[in-house]
């Protein structure tokens, strides 16, 4: 099953750590909030993705099996 990055926008405070850890999937907008490319995380990147999720100071980055329903 494909893994995707989901941001909990109510928690994210633009620390920007995720963009440093996963630059190929995440860049920052002009206010410092993550812009996620939406592509599934390939197996070789999953370990770093898990670290990005665990290292987010407010735990706003989640790895989900599918894209978040909105």
């Amino acid at each position: 099953m494909d893994q995707h990055i989901t941001i909990d926008w109510t928690s994210c405070q633009a620390h920007g750590l995720c963009a440093e850890l996963l630059p190929e999937h995440i860049t920052l907008d002009e206010w410092g909030y993550p812009l996620v490319d939406g592509r599934p995380i390939p197996p070789r990147t999953r370990k770093r993705a898990r670290r990005a999720a665990a290292d987010c100071p407010v735990l706003a980055l989640k790895l989900t099996e599918e894209r978040a329903p909105r």
Partner: protein, 405 residues
């Protein structure tokens, strides 16, 4: 004050005729008895009817019902039903009109919905009119007790996750939508949130069947919807109209330059095009339609509404918190005469940055309105850049509540 022309466009289904509120005996006389005890048939009939949500998103009602019932089976928790009568959109009057004229239709729908999903708790959430609804409830002998809850009057109070959080004892602000409220809502139980008009339609679908419901509307978009119509110089009207009817038949468009379809999260459409556009749940939102006269300024109207929408942001999600006030300020510049700098390109860029990047649809709806205004009023915005506005009448068309200081 809202006036009613209930039977101008079709024989009225939902609104009691003559603008007189229907008490329980009038209601029973008009619609006949409602029988309980067969949730499977209710679900099947609901699916066959093709009823979609009337709160704005237009999601198929039976799919939400099925998802909630399924989550209840999986978790072993009895679900909660929430009838959403918040109607926090200032231009919409249809839910409060429905609740005032035909409260028992909504209350029937709540009981049917609760039975269909096996709920043991039910709420009716409104901004005002709570005591009137409580006295309507007191007339009935319902299987399940319904609690009427007063919501704070804010644009986002009626957003499903905000409503659920409020009923769970928190503030009425949207939350991260994972897991969705249909899985984990009020008190962490699977929760069915349905607009009050949707529930009123359900009360009729359960009585008269899917074929009856589908006798209005089109095969692909069956049924009818309550619409709030804004025409300059006339009272606001609530009407019931079938899907598929051209907007131009519903709203007088003589002398109009554009129509706002779908309210403050909706779309500005040039009047000539709007006249032929059929009413559709895809873009009708909560049913607000407003005709902008050619002698008024659509850019100014949009700037006022966008400022209101920016102020109504719950302020929880960074892109919305940062983007909407900037978009609103840039729109204020476009609304005035004179040099506009980079306002237009800034708005387009910020719209892209807020869209899809929040817990709720507030940024998405706001950018829909903003983008449609940039397109529909492009010529007027050019005129403003050259120092003049073509409007001669400055009376505001769209209602925006006074700002608290």
């Amino acid at each position: 004050m809202t006036t009613l022309f209930t039977d101008v466009y079709m024989s009225p289904r939902l609104l009691a005729p003559g603008g007189t509120p229907a008490d329980l005996s009038t209601h029973e006389q008009r619609y006949g008895p409602l029988s309980y005890g067969d949730p499977a048939t209710v679900l099947r009939t609901l699916a066959a009817s093709g009823l979609t949500g009337r709160g704005g998103a237009g999601f198929p009602a039976h799919r939400k019902f099925a998802a909630v019932a399924d989550a209840a089976r999986r978790t072993g928790r009895p679900p909660v039903v929430v009838a959403n009568g918040a109607e926090s959109e200032p231009a919409s009057h249809k839910d409060r009109t429905l609740l005032r004229l035909s409260p028992h239709l909504v209350l029937d729908g709540i009981q049917l919905a609760a039975e269909a999903v096996g709920a043991e708790e039910a709420y009716l959430a409104v901004e005002d009119g709570a005591s009137y609804l409580e006295s309507a409830l007191a007339q009935r002998r319902d299987p399940l007790r319904v609690r009427v809850v007063r919501l704070p009057a804010r644009f986002l109070s009626g957003q499903a996750s905000a409503l659920v959080q409020y009923l769970s004892g928190g503030p009425a602000r949207p939350t991260h939508p994972v897991p969705p409220v249909r899985e984990r809502g009020v008190g962490r139980a699977p929760t069915l949130v349905q607009n009050v008009e949707t529930l009123a339609h359900l009360a009729l679908v359960a009585r008269y069947g899917a074929d009856w419901f589908r006798s209005a509307g089109t095969p692909a978009e069956p049924g009818s919807a309550l619409c709030t119509l804004h025409t300059a110089g006339r009272e606001v009207r609530v009407v019931e109209a079938p899907f598929g009817m051209p907007v131009g038949r519903l709203l007088p468009l003589d002398g109009a330059s554009a129509v706002l379809v779908g309210g403050y999260h909706g779309t500005w459409i040039p009047a000539a095009e709007a006249a032929r556009v059929p009413l559709s749940p895809a873009y009708l939102g909560a049913g607000v339609l407003a005709a902008l006269p050619a002698d008024r300024c659509g850019v100014t109207e949009t700037a006022r509404v966008v400022r209101y929408l920016a102020l109504q942001s719950a302020g929880r999600c960074g892109p919305c918190l940062n983007g909407l006030p900037r978009i609103a300020e840039a729109f204020r510049i476009l609304a005035g005469p004179g040099p506009q700098g980079r306002a237009r390109t800034d708005i387009s860029r910020w719209a892209g940055l807020v869209e899809g990047r929040g817990a709720c649809h507030h940024p998405d709806g706001t950018t829909r309105l903003v983008r449609s205004a940039l397109t529909t009023f492009a010529t007027e915005i050019d005129a403003h850049a050259n120092g003049h506005c073509t409007a001669t009448d400055r009376t505001p068309l769209l209602p925006v509540p006074a700002e608290k200081v």
